[in-house]
Symmetry: C2
Subunit: 163 residues, 2 copies
Amino acid sequence: MGNEGSFAAVGLKVWKAQIDRADKLFGTLSSEEVLREIAPGRNRLLYLWGHLTAMHDAMLPLLGLGERLHPEFDVAFVSNPDKSEAAIPSHEEVRQAWKTVNGELWKGFEKMSWSDWLQRHTAVSEEDFARDASRNRFAILLSRTNHLSYHLGQAGLGLKGAA
Amino acid sequence: MGNEGSFAAVGLKVWKAQIDRADKLFGTLSSEEVLREIAPGRNRLLYLWGHLTAMHDAMLPLLGLGERLHPEFDVAFVSNPDKSEAAIPSHEEVRQAWKTVNGELWKGFEKMSWSDWLQRHTAVSEEDFARDASRNRFAILLSRTNHLSYHLGQAGLGLKGAA
């Protein structure tokens, strides 16, 4: 593995660490706990979990790894705030989708070479990418890892005794 | 700039984006607002800000960039929970330290070549590093960026109207 591979490996390790953390936090919640708000009047844990699932699902086409698996999650968890939609995916549906989406992403990551990470992501035009080569797939990996951490910090507040 | 440099540049860009976000969030707080809890019974915003400052200060020796500037922040913001110490640094002291520490870090980052990022950080022994080369300075950069995002997610909850 060359030096470029070392950088990509560190990025993937940090991603994986946050996914493991999320698995532990969300994966052990009861159906009652998942409906708790992270703070009075704020988002419920289920909304955060669904939101993260939808954002990760959207990484599949963004990184050229395939079609979205759950585009229907966007109405419930991205384009509308929590408690505004009458019907949202159930606890069990979110749990399954979270697992499937992250499994699919990881399979894709494992097939990517270090040079794939430096290619443009599909939301930037060739023209814009020529002007700013930092708008690449590695930037998506790092920013989505930080997005996950951001909401993990909030989710921890919804759980008794968590820091 | 070679390919390795592209990876390091993306890591620095994402770090900088989170620092800017924190500057905006914490930098505009009044002396009253900074004493607000992020949620009932939880940490105050000043504690989070001081905690982030202390953790970033500790990156200076960890990355071989110099001595710590504010080791005295640890008692107030790392080794003890919020509201347990009788005296902690003031709002103005935290504001100044945050600015100085991150400025010093950035000066150091700018002098680092891409290969410096792949060197071991000072908290890992040469022996352990030989076994696992991913315990390098780039891993510290990415994990501290995520640590910052984690607490930014919480800090946003302490502010009226923030998401």
